[in-house]
Symmetry: C2
Subunit: 148 residues, 2 copies
């Protein structure tokens, strides 16, 4: 039940965009260096995020990436789901491509996997990038340092 680096890096990159981004785009290089992610790898991930409509890209010199929406309108659920697919403990309870098991209608464990999936969904869909920024501000509020 570990999230792969795709999902983890993706959230980190999106958080970086939410924290340091604004009107002017952030280059991939900047994000990759600050979050310590391999640049060519992040390239792949952010391409997925772009296709999912979570970031906008600006090509050419001084280009880069911008959040497609405001931080309070982007949930970590949408980020993780776009990079990892449905976060289902078993394929048969996936929202996107529910591969049916045989004997599915009589399967008790299926009920269990569904409960777990729903619980995860509830958490990740209820947390937005803005919530993370708030956590962040609270975390380094006293000394007013600018971490990461």
């Amino acid at each position: 039940m570990r999230l792969s680096t795709k999902g983890r890096y993706g959230v980190k990159a999106m958080f970086d965009l939410a924290l340091h981004g604004g009107e002017t785009p952030l280059s991939l290089k900047t994000i990759a260096e600050r979050q310590e992610i391999s640049e060519p790898y992040l390239e792949q991930l952010i391409a997925t995020l772009r296709k999912a409509g979570l970031v906008k890209s600006v090509r050419g010199a001084y280009g880069g990436y911008l959040l497609a929406r405001h931080p309070e309108q982007i949930t970590v659920g949408s980020i993780i789901r776009s990079l990892e697919g449905s976060i289902a403990p078993a394929e048969c309870v996936s929202e996107m491509d529910p591969i049916e098991c045989e004997r599915a209608e009589n399967c008790v464990t299926r009920i269990l996997w569904e409960k777990i999936r729903i619980s995860i969904d509830n958490v990740i869909d209820s947390i937005t990038l803005q919530d993370m920024i708030n956590d962040y501000d609270e975390m380094c509020g006293q000394d007013n340092m600018y971490y990461i």
Copy 2:
């Protein structure tokens, strides 16, 4: 965020023991056939469950496995955790072997992973094998058939 077959088969096997087991032990072969799991593979898994103190074994002819405790005293959390390790979305928030990331004290995503982990823990620790049996009874209550 998919559970591996270890966790899934483990829960299935334990549920089988809870449903069909009793005073006399169930042989590995019986469980493996009923749940459609490779017998030598299940052998590995149940060895882990035995070491975790979730099942007792009876060696020799007419031997097999028994639940170590009553179904209402065994949570699916304990089963999954013994087979898969801590169900942490990132290593740094694992309960068992929390491999610290660098910059951990300033990491915002860590708060997120922790929230996810806690939510999963809450679900799987609140569901026992007895709960699954109840779900099962309810599921095939009308026609009184004995599935699986």
